[in-house]
Amino acid sequence: MLYRIFSTQTLALFVTLGIGVFLSPSAHAALGNRQLQTLHGQVLPAYYRGNTFDLLKSMSSLTKRMSTDQLAELDDELSAKGAPSAAEILVNARMTLLRQNLGRSLSKPNRNEMLITLDGIRRELESVATAAEQHAFMSDPLPARTTLEDYEPLLWDVHVLDQRLQTTSVLADYALSLTDRPLKISTRSLDDEQREILDTDFGALKARIDEIRRDLAEREIELRIQRLAASVSILRNSDNIRNRFFASRAVDIDGALLINELERREKNGAPGFRRAALKEEDLVEEIDRFVVDGRELAGDMITKSRLLFEGLHWWLRGRYGSGPDGFGLLKSPQALTSAEARFALYMPTEMPKPTDSCDSQGYSVPEIDRRHHYIWAWEYRQVGSANRSFSNSESSSRISQETTLSRFY
């Protein structure tokens, strides 16, 4: 009996070994062990953690000298783990950090990455510029409004559009910084598409974006002057508290923005306005009059409207805002030290209409119904292996293995 059991076990062992040998990873002919270790020990953990900095650094290092075959195999490995391709990861990571104005901390991309990044930036610049030029707000006359509340969605659109143009302009600056010196890339090794990327006139694209922003800024000034005038009229003639909240808010914010903008233009010697409605000689005096009258008529509603609308604006950012890390749940590590990074969030371009997550078939708005349901899983505290010794030296290397808890239910 014992012999028979032993034989069966031995047979099972040989079969297992045989199967193991048969399925040994000879399929990883292109990628070396070290490359696979970097992928599984650094790149993928950074991706799952949503750590954009580490992701860019590790992926850039990994792909630096890869051949086409190796890149193809890398993409297969990434796909098997549910991650996007190497090119997509590199472009998205770099552009995410650029949009947060962290371009100065980035190392210069290597050859492969350079082409991918410039192509990504070129596409973004053209896409944003075209969309902005075709936006309803950029046509004449300005979109019609009947009530004071109708100005709000228009100004929101302007704000979103301007933010997008601004971050795109940062991308253009970055592309120019990469291409302003001769690139150490042999053109003989490039195909037609790659040469086209390097031949892109990023200066012209940036100029186009800047021109759109200038036009947009003037239109916004015109709109705010119209709203300011309408608000003063309401404060003078209406007892409706709701309307007085909106009017007070407009006097407060439009008054400050307009006065600051006009003073800034005068101080910097900015060129004159191009839009006819802004060419009046006594424009500054007219705005001043509106602001003084409006503040006097509003009284303490100025403070209350400020508290209301600023409070609600912060609430919207908390409810619908998305950070660059942790799959949207986190801001960048720079938020610990930089006020700019603490403030930076991705916001929806259109005002969301939330849904009941109990009714939604899969996708709900916002996707994160309650942040406290998920953030507990963000475990940033490092844990060492039980039987491993560590040194105080900063040069000691250890592969960090982190468990990502993605399951909620």
């Binding site: 209301l308 005002m351 939330p354 849904t355 109990c358």
Partner: protein, 241 residues
């Protein structure tokens, strides 16, 4: 680290502004504010999210379940209540703040709304953890300190939410509901004790080994966790069974 969480700065600032607004406004002005917020879809808040949590067994508790026909809520008090609970949860999970839900006060203008969202959140965490096989594995297995710490944080948040709901909503619960809350409290305490015992055992093992373990963030993190628990034990808000 809490500052990195999206919503921490934002909800904190929102509460700062909106609470001050409430203190300054007349009744008519508050009514107008409520009107403005109700009219905007983006400020709608949905409750009863705990309905989605897996139910391990048939539950007869009626806590955090509204008798209204739908889950959509609108108005200033719901807006501030959501901010209050989210912000408080972040404080309780990522800081040593002794009273993370300080602004939830009986008599407050949004007290009822806060309580409903708080209980709904507690129930969601409780039911989800009850049905979570990963939690069971983490509790039973050796090592795996990272998920241990993460779950311990989750239990801390849930316990803090529950404790707040029990203390401040006490007069509002029926005897049956109060018993349900007590049962949840005991279950959560048991899980936390098991997780902490595992952390303590790991620390003891590290100290006993003849190597220098200087992963200071981990040891500090465990220490913070343990000291928070010891505070609760001293305060009588936790007990060891």
């Amino acid at each position: 680290m809490a500052i990195r969480i999206v919503g921490y700065l934002e909800y904190g600032k929102a509460l700062e502004q909106l609470d001050r607004l409430v203190s300054l406004c007349t009744r008519e002005e508050l009514a107008a504010v409520d009107d403005i917020i109700r009219d905007r879809d983006e400020y709608a808040v949905f409750t009863n999210i705990s309905q989605r949590a897996p139910h391990k067994q048939v539950t007869t508790d009626t806590l955090a379940q509204s008798d209204k026909p739908d889950n959509e809520r609108r108005g200033l008090s719901w807006v501030t209540a959501l901010a209050c609970v989210e912000f408080g949860a972040m404080l309780s999970g990522f800081t040593n703040h002794p009273n993370p839900f300080i602004s939830i006060r009986p008599g407050g203008y949004d007290f009822g709304e806060c309580l409903e969202i708080l209980l709904d959140g507690t129930r969601t965490h409780y039911l989800a953890m009850q049905a979570d096989p990963t939690l069971k594995r983490v509790v039973r297995s050796a090592g795996r300190m990272k998920p241990t710490l993460a779950y311990s944080r989750r239990v801390s948040v849930a316990r803090k939410m529950l404790q707040t709901a029990m203390e401040r909503g006490a007069p509002l619960y029926s005897p049956g509901e109060a018993k349900h809350l007590k049962d949840w409290q005991k279950d959560l305490d048991d899980v936390q004790i098991a997780l902490l015992a595992k952390i303590q055992s790991y620390l003891a093992e590290q100290r006993a080994q003849d190597v220098r373990t200087v992963d200071s963030k981990f040891v500090q993190a465990c220490g913070l966790q343990l000291s928070a628990e010891r505070r609760e034990l001293r305060a009588g808000t936790a007990e060891v069974t």
